[in-house]
């Protein structure tokens, strides 16, 4: 059966990565709170990592490079979450809300 051997080629991984990117962008547009947007951003990071890993496994001469790159992406994602959550907490302390609609003080 072809479906059971789908993990031996890059196609399924590429489609899943594209789906994750699409879901992340859908959530980024759709969500109205900052934390929901942050979660969607994490899904987009995961999509990029999965794409890197798939091409690294099937089309790269050195399979180490992609893994190191994905490790760096994970580090950046962790740093981004720490900064974003501290900003969210600071915003909540000043506005008592984290809805993107109400944070319009700089809107011209």
């Amino acid at each position: 059966m072809k479906l059971l051997h789908a993990y031996e080629q890059a196609d399924v991984f590429l489609v899943v990565a594209a789906f994750l990117l699409a879901v992340g962008i859908y959530g980024l547009i759709r969500r109205r709170t900052l934390i929901g947007m942050l979660i969607s951003g994490e899904i987009i990071f995961s999509a990029a990592s999965l794409n890197f890993m798939a091409l690294n496994r099937f089309h790269a001469p050195d399979p180490t490079v992609g893994q190191v790159f994905v490790l760096f992406i994970m580090g950046l994602a962790a740093a981004e979450v720490a900064i974003a959550l501290s900003i969210i907490i600071a915003v909540y302390r000043n506005y008592h809300s984290i809805k993107a609609r109400e944070l319009a003080d700089l809107n011209g």
Binding site: Y26, R30, V68, M74, E80, A82
Partner: protein, 176 residues
């Protein structure tokens, strides 16, 4: 006996299970209205992605995915939810909400369709000769030799991010 019975069936089923977990978790993360459920969806999605990394011959990254994303990122987001209470008040439904939903759905469908088409149709080059086996040992050697500068830079980024998070979250709090 050198071949486990029904080995192909088991491995293929586990792979399909990983794909289903990833897709279901991602959908749960963006569709639910409750933010806590969205975080659970993100965690489920990360479990599935860890499984996919395992199938891509990288058990080290599978463990790191669970350690960093579920152990650190999801827990930190739950801390943020507890401190900022995003579910406290519900917003009334507006007409623009539905409109934005349709726009988001169209954008997502277009991206998914276009990128899948590109990935499936593209003339991918056959890989040249492998120069390393991509094991955990090879990752460690290249992290501390070829990529040592980037390794140091990312540790600096993490340090500055922790300091900045402390400073930003602390500002405005009165001294006890």
């Amino acid at each position: 006996m050198d071949h486990f019975p029904a080995q192909d069936l088991i491995v293929g089923t586990v792979f399909l299970l990983c794909v289903a977990t990833t897709v279901a978790g991602a959908l749960l993360a963006v569709i639910t209205t409750r933010i806590v459920r969205a975080v659970c969806g993100l965690a489920i999605c990360c479990v599935g992605i860890a499984g996919l990394y395992y199938f891509l011959h990288s058990p080290f990254l599978a463990l790191m995915e669970i350690l960093v994303y579920i152990g650190a990122v999801c827990v930190t987001i739950i801390f943020g939810i507890m401190l900022a209470e995003p579910d406290l008040t519900y917003e009334s439904k507006r007409d623009t909400t539905v409109l934005w939903g349709i726009v988001a759905l169209l954008a997502g469908a277009a991206i998914c369709w276009g990128l899948s088409r590109l990935g499936l149709q593209g003339p991918w080059p056959a890989p040249p000769a492998q120069v390393s086996d991509g094991s955990t040992k090879a990752i460690g050697v290249s992290l501390l030799s070829t990529y040592s500068m980037a390794f140091e830079a990312i540790s600096l980024v993490l340090f500055v991010a922790i300091l900045g998070a402390l400073v930003i979250a602390r500002a405005g709090r009165t001294k006890a």
